[in-house]
Amino acid sequence: MSIMEIIGSFLVIVGSIFLFLGALGIYRMPDLYSRLQAGTKATTLGAMSVILGVGFWEPDWFLKLLVLVVFIGYSNPLSSHAMARAMFKKKIFPWTKEGGVDAYKEVIEPTGEKQES
């Protein structure tokens, strides 16, 4: 096993751990915002890492896979931003513990009307 293959396997394993944690987060998290964070942040890193790991295994594909990594790197945060913004605009409140701080609710609820931001 060459050094490239060891690096590749390590990256693939790290990536799959992050993908698993992302899936677990979507299952376990209490509200949409934290689910979104688990579903995009963790899977962005996971997918990038898996793809780069494959690139170390097959050096011929490295350039193509690098393009994929760049694509994931700017499309995944973009979609999560769009979804989070849409949820915010539709007045979906973040989950808090009893007596927790929710600045968004404090802005919205006194008037009960839609706030322009």
Partner: protein, 231 residues
Amino acid sequence: MKKYIVLGLLAVLGYYLMSIFLLVDFGLPHFAHGVKDVYLSSSKNILKVSNAVTAIVVNFRGFDTLGEVTVLFLSATAMSGILYKKRHDIGERSILFPASSIIRSGAKMLFPSITLLGIYVFIHGHLSPGGGFQGGTIIATGFLLMLLTYQNYSVSHNRLVWVESVAGMLFVIIGLAGYFMKGSFLENVLPVGELNDLFSGGVIGIIYVLVGFKVAAELIGIIYTILHEKG
């Protein structure tokens, strides 16, 4: 009176379908092998196409694909007929709030790469999974992104119709060229090249590019019509 005419036409159609089905030897041992071996070997050896599904869809069953594209065209036309209350008098795009600047600049970066991916998918339809329908759909999603992001982004309906018509006509012309030069509709008239080359498979690549343009234009038209539906 009309009922009897319809019944008579159905009877004639049924008679001919029946006679065709009687020609097929259902249940006989040679039917158990089917046509799969012929398709697989001739798509690899005669047409030199590595994606056998594409060879079947575009060449051996090319006439059906023409029908599918026509069905898509008809459904797009019917949809715009239903949704346009008055022609050329389209409503405002229904939008809750404008997209943020992050989405605006991100969509500008994403749109070329989505279009490039779509073009790649339909150009390599005969080499890899995918093809005209898939590539056209990917291109349409790129336009959907732009239409959702930019409120005043518009697609020229006339240009879409033009692209669609030219692509459809070229499809039929290629088919007729096969009919006049080789004797059957959509027969391959171009040199087949080498297996796994980009320029292989004769007319299959060209037809899939045309199908890609046609599907993309139709789906963009549908999306545009839905977004401008009058409330």
